[in-house]
Subunit: 313 residues, 2 copies
Amino acid sequence: MNATPLFPRVALIGFGLIGGSIARAARAQGLAGEIVITDHSAKTRARVAELGIVDRVAETNAEAVKGADLVILCIPVGACGPVAQEIAPHLKPGAIVSDVGSVKGAVVRDVAPHLPANVHFVPAHPVAGTEHSGPDSGFAELFIDRWCILTPPEGTDPTAVERLRAFWAAIGAKVEIMTPDHHDLVLAITSHLPHLIAYTIVGTADELGKVTSSEVMKFSAGGFRDFTRIAASDPTMWRDVFLANKDAVLEMLGTFNEDLSKLTRAIRRGDGEALFDHFTSTRAIRRGIVEIGQDSPAPDFGRPHANLAKKPD
Amino acid sequence: MNATPLFPRVALIGFGLIGGSIARAARAQGLAGEIVITDHSAKTRARVAELGIVDRVAETNAEAVKGADLVILCIPVGACGPVAQEIAPHLKPGAIVSDVGSVKGAVVRDVAPHLPANVHFVPAHPVAGTEHSGPDSGFAELFIDRWCILTPPEGTDPTAVERLRAFWAAIGAKVEIMTPDHHDLVLAITSHLPHLIAYTIVGTADELGKVTSSEVMKFSAGGFRDFTRIAASDPTMWRDVFLANKDAVLEMLGTFNEDLSKLTRAIRRGDGEALFDHFTSTRAIRRGIVEIGQDSPAPDFGRPHANLAKKPD
């Protein structure tokens, strides 16, 4: 434990990939005098107690937040409103309440009305993750060099915002502040639409009559397998994202469909020049992403390869 | 060099990712008495000579294939017909001619008519790759545990097919035989459509007014960055794939569009149950792909993470 932790007590509600990674990272960095967690699943609570990586596992949300200086909801977006209502009477005056939801407008709308005036609400979204979920899936390094977006409502105490920023920075994240609406538009294109497309194409491949699922799996290294990773993400979380960010997702889908029609037309007409020009332009954004450290320069994401065993003479 | 190489002389026309990987793997395994390569780019030829990883760099296609027992065209699909015509008069009687194209119907149609009756034409497609291209991008392990599909025309000498199968097996690939038409349908869904979708969404993200390219890049770890890898693939190769496999791609696109409309409708109507059911069903195919060894079980493709530096006390 650190000599002067940022927060005497941190409570995490929900111990999946994100909650579990925050707990591990905060502990590794000594950011909390005490880390208390809870989860609606008794099995998950038992597993966390067994892992021994937090100070206390509470049985209920109310019990978890009592006396906590920072409370983070690490649960699907759709659960945030009801949980806020449940914990509101038990929050410590002056506490900071935050979340990790992939949609911010709906969370602000659902959570803020329930919270007492004497706590600070600072919504947050760490743009990081893997396709795994559950109490064992988290790891302390998940947020390193990833962005965490804060969307504090107007009039939020700047000190509270600064303390939350310091917390995320200490576990490796870069922090940016924007409005909930802009966040939801940005994430609709950088995260929600990619997931929707991936979920769609994996479903398409799975239901073809002319090509078997076995063939789809065997020959997936041609590109398809990349999509299956994203389409293996937590279904509850993603259901909630699409319900909560409907407008922005539909807007981005509209633009995507127009662009897909354009490329489809080029294919139908045999317009090689249009295809070549498009395929050339998309290389630049990949280069940019690698240059700013948001992806690995290693080919194929650095997927491992076995050694080529030498043929015996 | 191996005491009894499979082929006394192997000629590779084209030294990009695939040609360069075949050369490195064949050399590592001692599969050829002599490896001769050429490339239409003088710069590439010079670079290969500098790398010193093949026995000889020929200046022309005609010169490269002279006396070769196995000739593999490692060039974009659209270039195969003209090159076949060019090399035909120079082929050694009894030679095996193959390719590595991602489309097989068009290659059979464009190449076969040019070849003399005394050579064996065995089209092939190794389903493997990375987003990198050029003479330095290849590596000997690329084909390990990946599938290589052979589509020999009816009546092809079984011995020739068997020799090519042995070659691919020796550099680590598993070999499957199917008809060109079925190959083109399978690859339309496992490779061509995923690439088209990725090229589309990356283009969409790059041209939004409301979200800047800088924001798209910064917050790409939410899923988008996965698509940019595929959309960084070689533009010439992919232009040719879509021109050559138009019918199968348009057919798969039709099914994809129907499925996307279904999910879009579920979002618009707020039908959480339909979304949840769909997102649950797509997890199975990911598990299958990992189980049969076609992708890594490591989260996030095994992308590397930095260490979390301990905060000083």
